[in-house]
């Protein structure tokens, strides 16, 4: 059973409940700092470039990208998988820790969930736009029609992809939103602005904070959490079947579902780390997001990184052990050595080796190193998808088809655009939504003090 004694205080500063509300809500009522506007402007510019790229893609055709007959998927699928991966962490973080009753999650989960929603929206754009005829995307959904009826192909991983991603988006967005209801009510009740009261009041759904409501609320959180927990595993498993169900060397592999889920959580946690370090620094949330929080995430990353390294090595071993000449070629002559060796080794170092630095407490407590490593992991995970997609496709079975792939500015623009969209969303989140779940933090703020001892699990146990 969990014991806070081991972990120590979950938030610093010995704040009163009112103070907690005030501190967390401060950015919403405070004057918006200049850096926010600059960052927002940059994000919007990136977003505009992305919008233009999408426009070009839709009007000119997928030909404006760098794909060809041999490499039919490129950056768009890399980015899709990457964003989906990032979009995992929020929910994974929140839910697994919720289910495991890890109370320290409270300071971070809100940000993580917000990030999830934004990342999944970014991710969903890619498969949508990458279709040759995006305007017919609804054909991927099974709906009764007058064509016979002509159903979708239930064998296709892409169909399940659509199902999984859209469900995941729905569930994670609801999970995030319902988690915010009590906090919206708090803002409604504390703010002086009439407009804010009306708007937040609308979103607060008339929350009064009665114990019945809390009861329902907790129940809902667990139900949604339960569904989402399954989805976290299923979404990336399904995304992985996009590759695992293919016959391309380097794709056709049973390790993919767990490997992808773990990889997704890895990249997501890295992104959480990036975000919370920013929150810590930019909004001075040090009291709520303590060094212990960062420390805990880093420890998890060490663990996942080990799994990643194992997975990489397993893949390589299996390629050799299977004796398939195509697999051997892809792994040994096109990844470890060959044209894509740089990308492979950077991926390996960033994902499997660099996080091992987190064994050292010094590293874990140096916020700058943590930030740098979290960025490296994000790059490494991007490279992982690059390696999987590009190396397998460029050189597969018939050497006559081997072709190179280089992204065009339109593809790069699209990617940058989603980053812009993501950062804009995050910035809006910083500004308009309580960055930390106030009510949850309040629940744990007095956890270690005497009068709350009886709340502690195990308090009544015989020891």
């Amino acid at each position: 059973m969990y014991k806070t004694d081991i972990r120590g205080k979950l938030i610093d500063g010995d704040k009163s409940l009112t103070q907690i509300s005030q501190d967390i809500l401060a950015p919403i009522d405070a004057k918006t700092p200049t850096w926010w506007y600059i960052a927002m402007a940059v994000s919007l510019m990136m977003f505009a470039w992305g919008a233009r790229s999408i426009y070009v893609t839709l009007t000119v055709g997928i030909g404006s990208w760098g794909q060809n007959n041999t490499v039919a998927w490129g950056w768009e699928i890399i980015n899709f998988v990457w964003w989906i991966g990032i979009g995992h962490a929020g929910t994974a973080f929140s839910i697994f820790l919720l289910i495991l009753r890890q109370k320290w999650r409270s300071s971070i989960n809100r940000a993580a969930e917000a990030m999830t929603v934004a990342a999944v929206i970014c991710a969903a754009l890619f498969p949508l736009i990458h279709m040759g005829r995006s305007w017919l995307f609804f054909w991927v959904f099974p709906y009764p029609n007058t064509r016979g009826p002509l159903w979708v192909n239930f064998n296709s991983p892409l169909f399940w992809d659509f199902v999984a991603v859209s469900t995941y988006l729905l569930i994670s967005a609801s999970f995030w939103y319902f988690g915010m209801v009590p906090d919206f009510a708090t803002i409604r009740d504390t703010t002086k602005s009439k407009i804010k009261r009306a708007v937040y009041g609308f979103f607060a759904f008339g929350w009064t904070g009665s114990s019945k409501e809390w009861l329902r609320y907790e129940g809902l959180a667990f139900v949604l959490g339960g569904i989402a927990a399954v989805l976290v595993v299923s979404v990336h498993s399904i995304v992985s079947t996009d590759f695992a169900a293919g016959i391309e060397p380097g794709w056709h592999s049973t390790i993919f579902p767990p490997f992808f889920v773990v990889g997704a959580i890895f990249s997501g946690f890295a992104m959480v780390l990036t975000l919370v370090t920013l929150m810590k620094k930019l909004y001075k949330m040090d009291d709520f997001i303590t060094a212990n929080h960062v420390d805990a995430v880093c420890r998890i990353l060490v663990f996942i990184s080990l799994i990643m390294g194992t997975a990489y090595i397993t893949e390589i071993f299996i390629a050799w052990y299977s004796g398939s000449e195509y697999e051997v070629f892809t792994f040994f002559r096109n990844r470890i050595t060959g044209e894509y060796a740089y990308q492979f080794w950077f991926m390996f170092i960033f994902n499997a080796l660099l996080p091992q630095l987190f064994w050292s407490k010094k590293v874990r407590h140096n916020i700058w190193i943590v930030f740098a490593i979290s960025i490296c992991i994000n790059i490494g995970m991007w490279l992982e998808r690059y390696i999987i997609i590009v190396t397998s496709l460029t050189k597969d079975f018939l050497p006559a088809n081997w072709a190179e792939y280089h992204p065009t500015m339109v593809e790069i623009g699209f990617y940058v655009g989603t980053i812009g969209m993501f950062s804009a969303a995050v910035l809006l989140f910083f500004k308009y939504i309580p960055q930390i779940a106030i009510h949850e933090v309040k629940m744990i703020s007095k956890y270690n003090t005497q009068q709350f001892d009886h709340l502690k699990p195990g308090h009544h146990d015989y020891e």
Binding site: N145, T146, R147, G148, P149, L150, F202
Partner: protein, 389 residues
């Protein structure tokens, strides 16, 4: 125009509907104004004949003149706008087009000393001064180049749709902020009802995309399948004779029409007027440009030979009661589901056609009783590549 029919007891909805219609009338009242101004532009371009002449010609045509008229007005038979039902008399536009290139004498002869039985009967009491008849011709010539007067505007689907959206917003605002309506149920019902109608409209529009069931366009000649295939019992394949062996059923060449119409020069319905078009086409060697009624998309390859020649499907099965159609219209929706369902049901004449001898497995199954009949779907009629390639 699609009227939204609502149960009477929801008076509020009814009121709103009336309000919607009023708003819409207001909105569209600008259109005729614009139309009038553009009409004047056209007239300004034309120098002669004078406006007065035209007006006078129009009045004669429409029966406002002469004052002591005892005979039918021209317009009572030769109507100006497109009617919803078949009108066998040549329309004003038809006549206008026919005589636009001819001089007055021809026109006069046709009107005053008609040669056909039918036209003779209706024109026999005609009394009109030559001068006035000239003006009628002027009016008709003008008509030929300006086209028939625009039909009244129809309320289009989009307006309905937008109105429903407005209704929904109003209901929502009321529900959340104003609380003007006492019973919440009403607003909720408005919301759900509007949404329901919108979904219905979208679905119908989506299903109708690219389909045109009951499409019955105007044809250059008022050719009646009822008269030919029904009353006169001409076999479909007499005219559409390539249906049995070609993909296309074929629209008969003009020479084929002339097989009969070399002799048959006056019909029971339109008299000579329509048949004259056939004769003229034959004489001028200028083919008649029909409007296609059954249009399949470019990516659908349908073969009449397969269905008529091989499967011996009756023409009516797809084209409907052609023998009763004065105006040819698209009977079936020609959707993919319609094709596929028929393939699922249709039995194949499996034993009599030696082609199917190569289907050894199916013959075995028939013999062993595993399969009682072979249907089109069993021999791959529903494969994509049967129709899409």
């Amino acid at each position: 125009m699609r009227n939204v029919i609502l149960p009477g007891r929801y008076t509020l909805l009814l009121k709103l509907y009336i309000a919607r219609v009023l708003v819409f009338i207001l909105l569209i009242s600008g259109i005729p104004l614009m139309a009038i101004s553009s009409n004047e532009d056209v007239k300004a371009v034309k120098e002669n004949p004078s406006h007065n002449d035209l007006q006078r010609g129009e009045r004669f045509f429409k029966g406002l003149l002469p004052k002591d008229r005892t005979f039918e007005s021209c317009v009572s038979c030769h109507i100006l706008s497109k009617p919803d039902t078949m009108n066998w008399n040549p329309s004003a536009m038809d006549i206008a087009l026919k005589y636009v290139g001819k001089d007055f004498a021809d026109f006069q002869t046709a009107v005053m000393q008609p040669s056909g039985k039918k036209i003779e009967a209706s024109h026999k009491d005609f009394k009109i001064e030559d001068e006035d008849l000239k003006k009628v011709k002027m009016y008709l010539d003008e008509l030929a180049s300006t086209g028939p007067p625009a039909a009244g505007p129809t309320i289009n689907q989009l307006a309905n749709f937008v109105l429903l959206i407005v209704l929904m917003i109003l209901a929502l605002l009321d529900l959340i902020f104003f609380h003007k309506i006492k019973y919440r149920l009403i607003t909720v019902l408005i919301l759900m009802g509007s949404l329901g109608f919108q979904v219905k409209m979208i679905t119908e529009a989506a299903i109708g995309l690219g389909r045109s069931k009951d499409y019955a366009p105007d044809q250059p000649i008022k050719f009646s399948h009822k008269v030919h295939a029904g009353d006169n019992r001409i076999d479909c394949k007499y005219c559409h004779h390539t249906a049995e062996f070609s993909k296309s059923a074929g629209i008969p060449a003009m020479e084929l029409c002339m097989n009969c119409h070399a002799l048959v020069r006056e019909g029971s319905r339109s008299g000579k007027f329509e048949i004259a078009k056939v004769l003229e086409a034959n004489e001028t060697k200028k083919p008649v440009v029909w409007v296609r009624v059954h249009n399949l998309p470019d990516y659908v390859f349908f073969s009449h030979a397969q269905h008529v020649g091989i499967a011996k499907v009756d023409c009516n099965k797809c084209h409907g009661p052609v023998k009763e159609m004065d105006i040819m219209r698209q009977h079936s929706d020609l959707s993919m589901g319609w094709c596929i369902n028929c393939h699922r049901e249709t039995k194949v004449n499996f034993k009599d056609n030696a082609y199917y001898d190569s289907y050894l497995k199916l013959h075995d199954q028939l013999k062993s009783g595993k399969l009682d009949t072979v249907r089109a779907v069993n021999i791959g009629a529903n494969d994509c590549a049967r129709c899409h390639y």
